[in-house]
Amino acid sequence: MAIEHADVLRAAHLARLGLDEGEAAHYLDDLGRILEMVDQLQALDTEGVAPMAHPLDATQRLRADEVTETDQRDDFQRCAPAVENGLYLVPRVVE
């Protein structure tokens, strides 16, 4: 499946990665060759094979409903780029 310039721009937007036109062209070339390699998968008949998401056939363990965490806001916000009154700041979100 060929990938096009617009696909790269679309993926970059979905992934919120800023790319200029030159970079997009460069990645288009790389991604084209990577996907060409990936396309070898299409040659394989996988009819009836269940998809495998985890290498072990384990099931989810459940945690007791207990509050185990304490307030560590100051510690966590020490590495935050912009906070005020305990809130993380971002450019204004328009609703």
Partner: protein, 488 residues
């Protein structure tokens, strides 16, 4: 042209767990910003989700409550999108294999009839944080305390045909989740939020019209109003030759209208895929059976029991089973006084009236179920009459029965409201009234016998007045009739 409205609801219910769905942070409402956002909730590097067993149990209880299929295996997926209140850049949700399969909910309409709304599925997911738009130097502040609170998203089939049905459905869901105790159902605090899908089609047409999704409608009343507005908008649009656009709209309660959210955001592509940090949730039959066996009685069952066992009307049974608190209060009153109909009358009459006047929830009633039950007992055993009973209720409501007990008996005693049934005492009062009312006695005597029945009211009133309301009215009536007739 006749139009038919088609409505489907997605209801998000915050589950009443102590800790979050994937972390051990508290879910308590109203804490200092970000003080209940732990490393997992913040999406800090390297930390991982571990599923809360109570969230699973509550979801299954809901499923059992709507007679749904509970699949053996359910899977968490990631819904990928960027937003500041979504710390990881994805919401952990269930796209393909939800924890609750198809089920159904019975809704009660105003005319006392019921209808069934089908549930497509319900799935577990994590709530997002909150964006605060007050001015932080032109910035938005992000509070992630709510991030990771467990949500059960309940998705209905497009089975509702009017705003009233939609509101009734929302009430039914509210009633089920609060009966189960899996949510506090507090809509003002956002414990229950709802997205409404609305479309219209010409009556008789099978194909659905294009729908609009109204986001985040957060009260029963707003659901009704938002739908009414939206239906009118869509019908006008089509009748004017326009087309409904599939879009997301917001309901503005102040303007009482829905508005298109900016369509700048192109079609989303959430790139769902199974969350590799969580394994499939497998529920064994014994676990599900155990939860089923321990399910409380649900509103529909309670309503049926109130009708069949207590002989209440469909309407009364519906009102009294609408909330678990109401039903429990009523049943307690009934148990104490032993008379379901009297209990129903008092709870729906005096009590509900007083609660409504003061805007109180039944849980906050100053008159307890036991107190009300004991009051009714005194009516039933003839200690007080109906009029005095209302006085006693008011006194109980205002706590006049003393700091200890505040019981009906204490008030009856203190206010001297005990019914007078002593024949001699009543006779004395009757004699005095007759003596003091020669004119009325003469009129009575001169009247045609079939008119006298109406005229006796005056004498009863006078005797009751003389007894300060404590005389047994039936007794007064009978004795007066004998005395007056003897004079004729």
């Amino acid at each position: 042209m006749q139009w038919e409205t088609v409505i489907g609801l997605e209801v998000h219910v915050q589950l009443a767990t102590r800790s979050k769905i994937f972390s051990g942070a508290s879910t308590a409402f109203g804490a200092e910003p970000n003080s209940q956002a732990c490393a997992v909730d913040l999406g800090l590097p390297g930390v991982l989700p571990v599923l809360n067993e109570q969230a699973v149990a509550m979801a299954v209880q809901f499923g059992l409550g709507i007679h749904a299929d509970i699949p053996e295996v359910s899977v968490f997926d990631r819904k990928n999108y960027f937003y500041p209140d979504l710390p990881k850049g994805y919401q952990t949700s269930q796209m393909y294999d939800p924890i609750v399969g198809p089920g159904e909910v019975e809704i009660n309409l105003e005319d006392g009839s019921t209808r069934t709304v089908r549930i497509h599925h319900a799935h577990l997911e994590e709530d997002a944080g909150k964006s605060l738009h007050e001015d932080f130097h032109g910035m938005t502040g992000i509070d992630l305390n709510r991030a990771g609170t467990p949500l059960l998203e309940i998705v209905s089939e497009p089975d509702m045909r009017s705003a009233k049905e939609a509101a009734a459905y929302l009430k039914a869901i509210h009633s089920i989740v609060t009966y189960l105790g899996i949510s506090d159902g507090n809509m003002a605090e956002g414990s229950m939020r709802c997205d409404v899908n609305v479309s219209v089609r010409p009556k008789g047409q099978e194909a659905f019209g294009t729908r609009a999704e109204i986001k985040n409608v957060n009260s029963f009343r707003f659901v009704e109003r938002a739908i009414e507005f939206e239906v009118e908008r869509q019908v006008e649009l089509i009748e004017d030759g326009g087309d409904v656009v599939q879009e997301t709209r917001l309901y503005d309660p102040d303007a009482d209208e829905t508005r298109s959210m900016r369509t700048k955001e192109e079609a989303n592509d959430y790139r769902y895929f199974p969350c590799p940090d969580l394994l499939p949730v497998v529920l064994d039959q014994a676990y599900v059976d155990h939860l089923r066996d321990n399910l409380p009685e649900l509103p529909a069952d309670k309503r049926a029991r109130f009708e069949n066992e207590f002989g209440l009307s469909a309407y009364d049974a519906g009102v009294l089973s609408a909330s678990r608190a109401m039903a429990e209060y009523f049943e307690r009153v009934k148990d104490v006084c032993g008379d379901a109909k009297q209990a129903a009358n008092w709870v729906q009459g005096e009590l509900s009236g007083a609660l409504n006047r003061e805007g109180l929830a039944i849980a906050d009633s100053p008159v307890s179920a036991d107190q009300l039950g004991e009051l009714i007992v005194r009516v039933l055993d003839g200690t007080i009459n109906g009029k005095a009973a209302k006085q006693v209720f008011q006194a109980l409501w205002h706590g006049e029965g003393g700091s200890e007990g505040n019981s009906a008996d204490a008030i009856i005693e203190a206010k001297g409201l005990k019914q007078v049934t002593d024949t001699g005492a009543i006779e004395a009062m009757i004699d005095q009234v007759i003596e003091e009312s020669p004119g009325q006695v003469a009129q009575y005597r001169d009247a045609e016998p079939d008119k006298r029945g109406k005229m006796i009211g005056y004498f009863v009133g006078q005797v009751m007045k003389a007894s300060r309301g404590t005389a047994n009215p039936q007794q007064v009536n009978t004795m007066l009739k004998e005395k007056l007739d003897a004079l004729c």
